[in-house]
């Protein structure tokens, strides 16, 4: 039983990492060996040319920075707004709640490709086409519905009693939310942050349609530069992808402490 756990984790690691390993291999393979060597686990010669091209010759450091700004801002913005909304959905019974939840759900059901042109028009109206701010606002809007539901389920899971006690002791509702309930919901907040960050980090369609200037591009849109009309620069693309995974790993390493903490702190004792 003890070893079974490690066996399963190893299987998960293998499944998760093997395709990434394969991309790493491609990123290190010299272009002329890419197709000539056949399917091998490791190329006969290794090169860092692709990484050099991505990091030094291209604009990828800019793309990464843009992506990081957009993803982090979106994640924080969505988590704050969704915490408020999730709290209202969890703690209040009110008229129009059913309608609101239905609308939030329906927004998730319509294909993105059909709303790109109309959103473009809205962004033009508020003069935010081709800007990171516009992208952040669109990502925030599209990530909100699920984040609201998520925060609602986490609020549902925390006891109302502690909050009520704090309000009797003179806290306002907002203070009670901030001081009592939010800390109890840390795993949920961590999960929401992680979810929104990665969703924004990897989004391509909006980024491609709403951003034209090179200097404002996010990394997924920038990576499309490697796909020209005639060929795909596999080595550089793989190198860019491998590099893009590093900030995400760091981000998850950082937020995992929120996810893991939870009620283990013993807030309900005594």
């Amino acid at each position: 039983m003890k070893y079974g756990k490690y066996l399963i984790i190893s299987a998960f690691l293998l499944f998760t990492l093997f395709p990434v390993f394969w991309m790493l291999k491609i990123s290190l393979t010299p272009d002329r060996l890419l197709f000539s060597e056949g399917v091998v686990m490791w190329p006969s010669r290794v090169t860092f040319d692709h990484y050099y091209a991505v990091l030094v010759e291209g604009s990828f450091p800019d793309y990464f920075l843009n992506s990081f700004i957009v993803s982090a801002t979106t994640a924080i913005l969505v988590t704050i707004i969704a915490s408020l909304a999730g709290y209202a959905l969890s703690r209040f019974q009110f008229k129009g709640k059913v309608a609101l939840i239905t609308v939030l759900l329906i927004t998730q059901m319509f294909p993105i490709v059909m709303v790109i042109a109309p959103i473009y028009n809205v962004l033009t109206m508020i003069n935010l086409v081709d800007s990171l701010t516009g992208l952040i606002l669109v990502y925030t809007a599209f990530n909100l519905p699920f984040a609201c539901f998520l925060m609602q389920t986490f609020f549902d899971g925390t006891p109302v009693e502690l909050e009520e006690a704090a309000m009797i002791d003179g806290c306002s509702r907002l203070e009670a939310l901030e001081k009592i309930t939010l800390p109890l919901c840390l795993p949920g907040i961590g999960a929401t942050l992680g979810f929104v960050f990665t969703a924004a980090w990897s989004e391509l369609l909006f980024a491609l349609m709403f951003i034209n200037r090179q200097s404002q591009m996010t990394f997924p849109a920038g990576i499309m530069n490697f796909v020209t009309k005639f060929s795909v620069d596999w080595g550089q693309m793989a190198a860019a992808m491998i590099l893009a995974l590093i900030p995400v790993c760091i981000f998850f390493a950082y937020i995992q402490k929120f996810i893991v903490q939870g009620l283990t702190a013993g807030a309900l004792k005594g």
Binding site: K5, Y6, I8, I9, F12, L13, T16, P19, I26, F35, G38, V39, I81, A82, L84, Y87, A88, L89, F92, F94, V103, L104, L105, I106, Q108, F110, P111, I112, V113, M114, V115, A117, V122, V138, A141, F142, P145, C148, F149, F154, G157, R173, L184, G188, A191, G194, F195, T198, S202, L204, I223, M224, V232, M241, V248, F252, I259, G262, L263, T264
Partner: protein
Amino acid sequence: MTKFLTPWYYLAPTILFIFLLVLVPLITGVSYAFYDFDLISGTRDFVGLDQFFRLLQDDKIFSMSLINTLFWTAASLFFQFTFGLMLALILNHGFRGIRLIQPVLFVPWAVPSFLIGLMWVWMFNPVTGPLPYLFEGLGLMEKPENLLSDPDHAMWGPIIANVWFGIPFFAIMLLAARRTIPNEIYEAASIDGVSGLDAFRHITLPLMAPTILITLLVRAIWIANFAEIIIVMTNGGPANSTQIVATYIYDTAYQKMDFGYASVLSIALLILLMIYGLILGRIRRKMTTFL
């Protein structure tokens, strides 16, 4: 009066965002269904319900893509959820090196979907990837061939890629849900002699149920709408065997430039997903304070 308004203060920012950037565009998108777009002149003519009749009367690709959507969504969801739950419970249990391994296991969720598609195209191709040789070794194939060019099994290619991508989502959400269950409940239960599988069935599952249901609901909707991986890997082929409604919509809008009919298809998909949402919403309402 303030009491009546209180929840709306909390909801106001959300409503503002959703209304301006999602709802207004969505209604515009729906309105396309009543117009016939003419590419050459750049104009559009109001045609009423004509394009809806076209869908109902003679669209064989639609009915085919509908069945494919069902298979794509059900298979992807089943494996993502099962493995995601398994991973969440193991991560919750903890093991040596978890702090290093856990972020690595979440990595697929952060890879842009078109890159996931390209990555797996390489994996499945006998010229560039190891999988055909693995399948041959396992006796699943007689000789190393590309799974993606076999009309009978091609759908499994994008499904495997989608499962790879989606496991972390369920793992994170379910781990967070599991983490909000106070340990005291398990301690009390174990005093009463309830532990192991019984504790899982009577404590863990019911308390995680709200999160499980909402993730299943939203995830199914996303997967049904998730076209990128398939577009990159097979573009709906061979012989429409991997054509789902979402890829068909994309094809109609951006290849054939027929935004009117693409909108009709989107509305059809929307209605089907609403029915699914309604059923799951009912189940959830029985279990929680959802509505």
